[in-house]
Amino acid sequence: ETTLTTQTALPTRHALSQSYIRHFVEPLNEAGKGVVQINLLGGPEVTPADRAPQAMQRGVIDILHIPAAYVAGLVPQAQAMMLQNVGIEKLRAEGAVEAYDDIFGDRLNAHLLAWSETGPGSGYYLYTRKMPAMKDGVVDFTGQSLRTTGAYRPIQEALGATTVQIPSGDVPTGLERGVIDGFGWPTVGLKSIGLAEAVDYRIEPAFYNLANVVLISRDRWESLSQEARDLVTRVARDYETASVQEMIDRNREDIAAADEAGIEAVRMEGADAAKYLSIASEAMWSRVEEKVGADEVGRLRGLLYRTE
């Protein structure tokens, strides 16, 4: 019996980590008795999130669960994973997962075990205190200040917002005092960070899709027995599917909690919604293109993005 160590880059009580624990760690320990076991060391307290990919690469930990965007500094193509809009079955069937396995192998010497907690049915919302204006059917944040991080800056700027960088600890005060009028957040987890009372509007539809990856170092992967590899692969596949449903359920719970806290949806529909999503995605695609070039972006678009 081999024991693999693992950590998640998000706190262990985070909804995304919980999905990983419930649908991958626990089933693997159940199914792997006598063959392979997995030992969850914890969250970012083990290795800080921004250092965890290298820790996996160096073999300090065996398996890492991490949002794809967190790896983008080392693997620039990973940033595009949140732009997929075809769903995990097609990603598998049409070769996107395989392509990314090569990319992670090339850049981090890692094997991509799972592409998890992704859409359809997940993504990111913008939340604000002030009702945004509409311009040509799409929200316009001119005159509003939104809290930004690297992942939200392209869309926020494309929608005319003033972007403000403040540490997460300052967000409640920032909202209360009006330094910021809103922020972007994944479709799951607003409830768990307790900011539902602090904002009033949720901009729908959700843009992008969540995308987490589970990585194992190739050296470690190849050292496992064929039996262990097959087992881990099978559990990882089930986890991918289960995690998508998990996100849909969590999202529903979070929306209900947000409704209860009095958050109103500002909804764009039909062509307007499509335009909004396109603005968001194109802003991010051009950011990815700056890093990997037009050819690579062309290839990735073909693999994971469909425009109607």
Binding site: P48, D170, S192
Partner: protein
């Protein structure tokens, strides 16, 4: 390795190095490298230790610490502090220990605006300690009130650590922050009572110098010249926060700007003043940050080796009444706090404690505040206490870590008393959020 062996190894290494007289930061560096070789092994262990070292220090939240130290140093070296405190002396009259009370009042007021205990302590320390020392205050009376009041910043909202705690525990941030108001101000009252008692018991600890009596008119004139301008700087910093122009983190930079403008206006500006203030800032912030650079890896090793989770699981494994569980939790927090920074402590302990206390039927809001106070205390306990290090930096040369810790001890007693009061009257915590 069993968790208790891992824990003993790491703790005895770091304590051993410190006792042998190794600088704290280097004791952590050496322990981290040895610990990594033991628990991770190979050359990757060393490179990972070094790689992790830059993660915690490059956080914007730490920026106010050097900024506020610089502001305080400018205030002192330019001579502005002298003018302000001279005037305050004349206005406050012969009240013994007046600067101690002033520290508590000012520090509490500032706590309602800033969310960082380190920034608050840095500001109070560099502002008050040199003046108190010049005026002949005993080190106990100069250092203690600042260490106590500095910590209030993370209990009275806004609180950076409070936001992190609530979001890690999945609580409503707003309600949790509100819950800190009553305990925070109550703590300030306890501190005031403590200072009064300390002065009664030991009158020589605060100077009894005579001050000239002045009339109302003269009082007004002096205030206008000396206090009002400084008040304007404070108001500017506060105003920026209140009117939503700057965050508490950013406002520190404007504090510096304000004092700089004042030194220019009063013709107290000189290159020499800037030089002295910058060096003082480098000394304090450089020292504390170098410890932070190396201490966070220690927490990671405790987590990685299973030492911390093993100890926590052990401490929470007994089938005993709730108050005993809380006592065990309190002891483990204080023990961890002797060697860890509060952020790492939260990441490690919250996933273990919160499910447990929910099972026991303890109110999470109450427990969150209980934890926040324990975390505040842990920043003031030796050998690893970030607030102690900040104070040691601003304290005069020759002050020892022991002296700083001794000065802080009675104020830790107040914190403990507050926890007991919270246990007896949970309304202290739960009343205000209950109104929401």
């Amino acid at each position: 390795m069993e968790w208790y062996w891992a824990l003993s190894l790491l703790l005895s290494l770091v304590i051993g190095f410190m006792v042998l007289g190794m600088p704290v930061a280097f004791a952590f560096m050496a322990t981290n490298l040895i610990g990594a070789l033991v628990f991770i092994g190979g050359s990757t262990a060393l490179i990972q230790v070094v790689d992790n070292s830059t993660s915690l220090i490059t956080r914007f939240q730490l920026a106010p610490v050097p900024f506020f130290i610089f502001m305080g140093s400018l205030f002192f070296y330019s001579g502005l502090a002298n003018r302000v405190f001279d005037t305050l002396d004349k206005i406050l009259g012969r009240m013994p220990g007046r600067l101690c009370y002033l520290t508590v009042a000012g520090g509490t007021a500032f706590s309602t605006l800033t969310g960082s205990s380190m920034a608050n302590t840095a500001m109070l320390g560099s502002l008050m300690v040199p003046e108190m020392r010049r005026r002949g205050y005993h080190w106990r009376m100069a250092l203690g009130p600042i260490l106590g009041t500095g910590g209030l910043a993370m209990i009275i909202p806004p609180s950076t650590l409070g936001v992190l705690l609530a979001s890690l525990a999945g609580m409503d941030v707003g309600r949790f922050l509100i819950a800190g108001i009553v305990p925070g101000f109550l703590l300030a009252l306890l501190y005031t009572g403590l200072i009064t008692a300390q002065i009664r018991l030991n009158p020589e600890a605060t100077p009894q110098y005579d001050i000239e009596r002045i009339g109302r008119r003269e009082m007004l004139r002096l205030s206008l010249i000396n206090i009002v301008p400084m008040g304007l700087v404070v108001l500017m910093v506060i105003g920026l926060i209140i009117f939503g122009i700057a965050t508490p983190t950013e406002s520190a930079a404007f504090g510096v700007l304000g004092v700089l403008i004042l030194t220019l206006a009063f013709r107290m500006f000189s290159v020499e003043v800037i030089r002295k203030s910058v060096l003082a800032t480098l000394k304090v912030a450089g020292m504390v940050f170098f410890i932070i650079l190396n201490s966070s890896i220690f927490s990671q090793l405790l987590a990685f080796s299973g030492a911390s989770s093993g100890m926590l699981a052990f401490a929470t494994s007994f089938d005993v009444p709730n108050w005993t569980v809380l006592a065990l939790i309190f002891c483990s927090l204080i023990l961890l706090g002797m060697f860890m920074d509060p952020v790492s402590m939260m990441l490690i302990t919250i996933p273990i404690f919160f499910p447990l206390i929910e099972r026991l039927g303890i109110d999470p809001l109450w427990f969150g505040l209980f934890m926040l106070i324990a975390l505040e205390m842990s920043q003031t306990t030796p050998p690893f206490g970030l607030l102690l290090f900040v104070m040691l930096g601003v304290a005069p040369e020759g002050t020892t870590l022991r002296q700083v810790a001794v000065a802080a001890a009675p104020f830790l007693g107040c914190d403990f008393l507050l926890i007991l009061l919270m246990a007896l009257f949970p309304g202290i915590v739960l009343f205000l959020p209950g109104l929401m």
